[in-house]
Amino acid sequence: MSALAQTSWRPDGASDPLATRHGLIGAPVSRIDGPLKVAGQARFAAEVSMPGLLHAGFVYSSVARGRIKAIDTAAAEALPGVALVMTHRNAPRMKPPALFGTTPEAAGASDLPIMQDAEIHWNGQTVAVVLAETREQAEEAAALVAVEYESLPAVTAFAAAKAHAHPPESVLGEPAVLEIGDAEAALAAAAVKVDLTFTTPRQNHNAIELHAATIAWEGDRLTIHDASQLVTMTAATIAQVFDLDPKQVRVLSPYVGGGFGGKCLWDHQILGAAAARLAGRPVRVVLSREGVFRLVGGRTQTEQRVALAATADGKLDALIHTGVAAMTAHNACPEQFTFPARHLYAARTFKLVQQVAEMDMLANTFMRAPGESIGTFALECAIDELAEKLGADPVAFRRGIEPEKDPTSSHEFSTRHLNEAYAAGAERFGWAKRSATPRARRDGEWLIGMGCATGTYPYYRMPGGAARITLTADGRARVAAAAHEMGMGTATVQSQVAAERLGLPLDRVSFALGDTELPPSPVAGGSNQTAAIGAAVIAAHTELVKALLKLAGNASPLAGLSTDEVEGRDAGLGKRGDAARFESYASILRRAGRDEVTVQAEAPMPLELQKWSMHSTAAQFCEVRVSESTGEVRVARFLGSFDCGRILNAKTARSQFRGGIVMGLGLALTEETLFDERSGRIVNATMAEYHVPVHLDVPEIEVIWTDIPDPRTPMGARGIGEIGITGVGAAVANAVYNATGKRIRDLPITLDKLL
């Protein structure tokens, strides 16, 4: 049960009453869709069957920059079962997709035209798509397409690109350069300081589900069963590419087999739709694992400098974080690695500079905590090194530089409890047992060390979301939003929240998602989906209560009450603080002669972000064992202590935090997309050669949280999808130093770097 939520995003607004309520909020409810998933009955994008389906095969460019001089498709076309070979010569005319961020609905990963001319822009670009009756035929035919290229000079070496590095116009709406005081002068004058360079490699999301789409045209209406974390934006952008009305494009994506930023709009959905149109038949696109590496960008490589100056009493006199990220001329993902330094610590002077270096490569993109994941690696390793120089414990040192308000924007924090997270984490992990001297603990050949680091990720709430609630006379509610389920437990958590808000038992509430026929949703990115849908459901709930009070009329015990005076409880509406004035939903609807009532509303603009500095933080603790003979690093223990506002489902939240941490272990120790700087080609485009953590790499991971509500967010919650990965790279690197005495500032920390 719950009173109505007010407008907490306004400076004068009251908190969402759910923020302090128990009951279903925070309960460790098992996933509602769990039985379907474990039984193999959840239907993914490549699993929709359709009569007359054709299968797609892709041919990728083998040069980084140039032109297609000749392309011979005759052998492919002659194979039995082949229905179409599409190249730039016969592809339908399509507009380049609007680049993500240029309009609220733009989803383009890059704004390059797709198969409209002979130009090659990266090694791996699609030069032909084959459609055939079977997958085997399509792949054989694709292998028979012969392409001759005229190569042009290409920038495929980071060092060469860096020579022309420049600040981008903006970094996700923030300035690329931010200076407070004269940090370089403060650094030069400081007695205790560090000035360090860190390098981080390319990485790929590598969700286990391959990118796939099952696509069908019916006249000018297009249906795409996609694996997508932005269905509304995909439909709008595909409509723009094919010159359709957005209503003519329907995107369905009820289950996504892992996203992490990678399941957005790339060339394969657009090429699949184009080929389906040419062939006049439905098409299934399933990229091979190699194809995913060729067509779907990942995290880009960076070189970062962190320089810190300390005062004698352990404060920061200068915080400098600058660096360069590789990008293309056709996208806008500058990997915001300076963002943590903008909000984490108090310092007298700041110099924060982001630059990009343009390369001829596949557009890079958002991958779990873009910027914050690798930015915290550099910053938090540097903090560890500075603390050591000061002879200070790294946890205590951080407590001393905790800011009272946002150090660069001067806004008040909506809430911030990093110190509490550190205290609880240190206690639970046994941090006090750490030796400040490296190489002090060993077990045979194994050197043992502990490290810690701060994690941080912003609260976002993207605009443009809406939600629909249908309340039926049998006392059930159906809530719906286009929304996305990539493993976060969206339907489960949103059902819990809606049930609590409406005062209904959980089994009376359902949540539908993954379909553009439902009210629009923003991207499931920036860890914003829970807040975005939560705000839309609050708005719809207010409309529902209005409608119910109207239907209840004068004969009801609720007569004369306003929306502010009532709350959802016991499957009906009641006056707050007055048990006697109550009417059940069933009774209201029955008396009004209605089977159901449906309302839809849009979430208000995220004004809370203009007034407050809103960030989650974490204290990450790691213990490693490093073999002195092989340099092999094993993570023995890990603990994450999080301050993310209210936790809505203890079971799914724990999984999400752990998942982020596991990906952080990969970032720290094993993951690297190898980019051949001579050819611009990714050379380890397989799961066998791109090493994600496997079971034996993952220790038991302990997760705790403060659970202190954020008074400025729906449900008091901040998103938790990305913060888990942040700080992990540094926690591991700092532990490796504590074990071995070696500072590794170049990810991943592979054994060759420790020998």
Binding site: S30, R31, D33, G34, P35, L36, K37, V38, A39, G40, Q41, A42, R43, F44, A46, S49, T134, R135, E136, Q137, H205, N206, A207, I208, E209, L210, Y255, V256, G257, G258, G259, F260, V286, S288, R289, M486, G487, M488, G489, K651, T652, S655, Q656, R658, G659, G660, I661, V662, M663, T686, M687, A688, V692, P693, V694, H695, L696, V698, E700, I701
Partner: protein, 168 residues
Amino acid sequence: MRFSINGADHEIDFDIRTSLLDLLREHLQLTGTKKGCDQGACGACTVLVDGERINACLALAVQYQGRAITTIEGLGTPGHLHALQAAFVEHDGFQCGYCTPGQICSAVGMAAEARRGVPSVVTADLAATQIALDHDELRERMSGNLCRCGAHNGIIDAVRQVLAREAA
């Protein structure tokens, strides 16, 4: 060609280049078995053949005629879950659920291997006839099944609980 899948016989003709995985997914609509790499590197396609776990993406379908093939659909249904499936739900041994059928089939095959005394790289006594599936043994033996969502702890907890219950 005749196939026995989850106890049912299927008579079907197809391109002889078809993998067992594509036979299941594209021809028989048994899409519970997943494709994550098609190269034997991820384990998402794990099925049981005569009780042994294999990667269906590396198996040429024609070679599996007449063998007893069990897929995730043959282990349990949403209404009647296999003990391992129920334990995965209870311990949140998944997030997106895409690697999950492979993890579950793999765990069934893995338990049988241990019962037969098949050692792994972390087994201390290679001559032992009985293998105790401790935390390291379980993690090593499940390492062929990748999970990118990072549900490893929940997966191992679920498998452990079911094996402990079976042993009791």
